[in-house]
């Protein structure tokens, strides 16, 4: 039994077209699963559906999200919030908008622990201090008293990572956590996420459009096109021989600085037409 099992999940915009089509995927304890696709493919929607933070205009039309043995979609909303709140966390994409600009870093990390998990303020603060150390922030005591605007993008993303790991969640959804950062900082942050994930044995669903990033942090990946999973592979197999023509085309379109002679190949129209037909008709 996997820790997270999404079974045949379908969703659509209310009164509109489908967003997710029959999506199935699993994340085991200690596994990092990449979720890749082009923008609009529905990768973030899956993460939001799991955490129960879908936009109001989106409705789930079928399927199950089984977290640790219970189907989240059949739980009453309050019970679902407690379950998800206690065992899941999100590392968001944009580290500036995800932090409240008018509150100090410290309370933003500890609030959740105190209000939702019922920790004492002191215990929560000790935990926050220890975590900032774990995400390699020097002088954590001072940073806890600072405001988001006083920190760089990389520092803010470290804060959000610390915050995500604070309550020892069993599952973390990372939604493009490094797209807003430059490459050298991205590398530090990815290594940090990977190290913390390994140390805490967290199940991690890693949403990204960057196959380079996938090859560095994930063990398995699901490739999404127009809301449908077109390939589910182990990372090593995927990069050696992608199973689906669309995934192969996506891989060919990814630039590699080590191989400048290889022309950049946009995904061919024929491949797009074929995968669209496959997704829409069966």
């Amino acid at each position: 039994m996997s820790f997270l099992e999404v079974r045949n999940l379908s969703a659509r915009v209310k009164g509109g077209g489908p967003l997710l089509r029959d999506v199935s995927l699993t994340v085991e304890v200690g596994e990092v699963r990449g979720l890749v696709g082009e923008s609009g493919a529905g990768k973030s929607m899956i993460g939001k559906a799991i955490l129960g933070i879908l936009p109001k205009a989106v409705e789930i039309t079928g399927g199950q999200i089984v977290l640790d043995g219970s189907d989240l979609l059949t739980l009453p909303p309050a019970a679902r919030r407690v379950k998800v709140g206690a065992s899941c966390a999100l590392i968001p994409q944009d580290p500036l908008t995800a932090l409240n600009p008018s509150r100090r870093i410290g309370v933003q990390i500890t609030d959740r622990l105190v209000d939702i998990l019922g920790w004492t303020r002191q215990r929560a603060e000790e935990r926050a201090l220890a975590l900032l150390g774990e995400v390699q922030i020097t002088d954590p005591t001072r940073v806890l008293r600072q405001y988001p605007h006083e920190l760089s993008g990389g520092m803010r993303q470290r804060i959000l990572i610390a915050s995500a790991f604070a309550a020892e969640p069993k599952l973390i959804v990372a939604d493009e956590p490094t797209t807003a950062l430059d490459v050298t900082v991205q590398k530090q942050i990815l290594k940090l996420i990977a190290a913390l994930q390994a140390r805490h044995g967290t199940a991690l669903l890693f949403v990204t459009h960057d196959l380079g990033v996938v090859s560095k942090v994930c063990q398995n990946l699901s490739v999404l096109y127009a809301g449908k999973v077109v390939e589910d592979s182990a990372v090593a197999d995927f990069f050696r021989a992608p199973k689906h023509p669309y995934s192969a085309a996506l891989l060919a379109a990814t630039p590699k600085y080590t191989d400048p002679s290889a022309g950049l190949q946009p995904v061919p129209d024929a491949v797009i037409a074929a995968v669209r037909a496959e997704v829409e008709h069966g």
Partner: protein, 266 residues
């Protein structure tokens, strides 16, 4: 080959409003600290660096959206360092810019045709509809796209409209500031291939600002690496990638995640 741009000891500082005292002047923050380089006609220069390295500020100084506080910027033989807005206006047609975010740089209330026609009208061009059609054709968009609104287009198509607007003026120089970083790999490949063709066919000069060295290697003849407002390396692309001299360049190269699980990434 003649130089289109020649930049000497370029300094640029801005008022640091976060440290401004209640009364009195805000302290100056040095963004560019003495850059000297040139851009040869018909070549593509890649400008790379981490966030805050000054690469966008440099771009904006080249097309004089910002006024340098020291040094000289010479474009096609004219010193444009401190030219007034009025004196710059006739020159502006000759250097154009493509922006990072195609959604916010295209007016959502105008159709694509109007968006491309606007600068042509401002610069007093004739046969505007024909020029709009040619520009769309150049970037590989069907002519009837002129009647669409930006929100009806995909990210890659929007970015091509941005390119069409720039090339319609037949400029000698285009500044492309992170124009593919918001696009999917497939649209990214299309836009890069398009730029490559334009440079080859029209003989345009291009400065390509990016943090993605894989993309830069594909497109640029020379690469200039910036760190903290200074040039740490400025060499031919092949030489730079084969044997990076500066430690910072090596760090940048080593940080790129290649789509290859066997890459050693320490």
């Amino acid at each position: 080959m003649a130089d289109l741009y020649s930049v000497t000891d370029l300094h640029l500082s801005l008022a640091d409003m976060t440290r401004k005292p209640l009364f009195g002047m805000a302290p100056r923050l040095d963004i560019l600290k003495g850059l000297t380089f040139s851009i040869a006609k018909g070549t593509v220069l890649g400008i790379v660096g981490g966030s805050g390295s000054g690469k966008s500020t440099l771009g904006r100084a080249l097309v004089r959206l910002l006024e340098p506080s020291g040094g000289r910027v010479v474009f096609g033989g004219t010193d444009i360092t401190h030219l007034s807005d009025a004196d710059l206006r006739p020159l502006r047609r000759r250097f154009q810019m493509i922006f990072q975010d195609p959604m916010s740089s295209l007016n959502p209330r105008h159709r694509v045709g109007t968006i491309i026609a606007e600068p042509l009208r401002l610069h007093g061009f004739d046969t505007i509809p024909a020029r709009v059609g040619r520009a769309l054709d150049h970037v590989g968009l069907p002519k009837d796209f002129a009647h669409r609104y930006p929100h009806e287009l995909s990210g890659g198509q929007r970015q091509r409209v941005g390119i069409a607007r720039a090339i319609a003026l037949e400029p000698e120089f285009i500044l492309a500031d992170e124009i593919v970083s918001g696009l999917d790999v497939s649209s990214q490949a299309q836009v890069l291939n398009l730029l490559e063709t334009l440079v080859a066919e029209v003989g345009m000069t291009l400065a390509f600002i990016s943090h993605d060295l894989s993309v830069v290697r594909r497109l640029c003849q020379r690469v200039m690496v910036l760190q903290h407002g200074q040039i740490v390396e400025n060499r031919e692309t092949a030489a730079l990638f084969a044997d990076p001299q500066a430690q910072y360049t090596r760090d940048l190269l080593g940080a790129i995640p290649l789509p290859d699980p066997n890459q050693i990434w320490v």
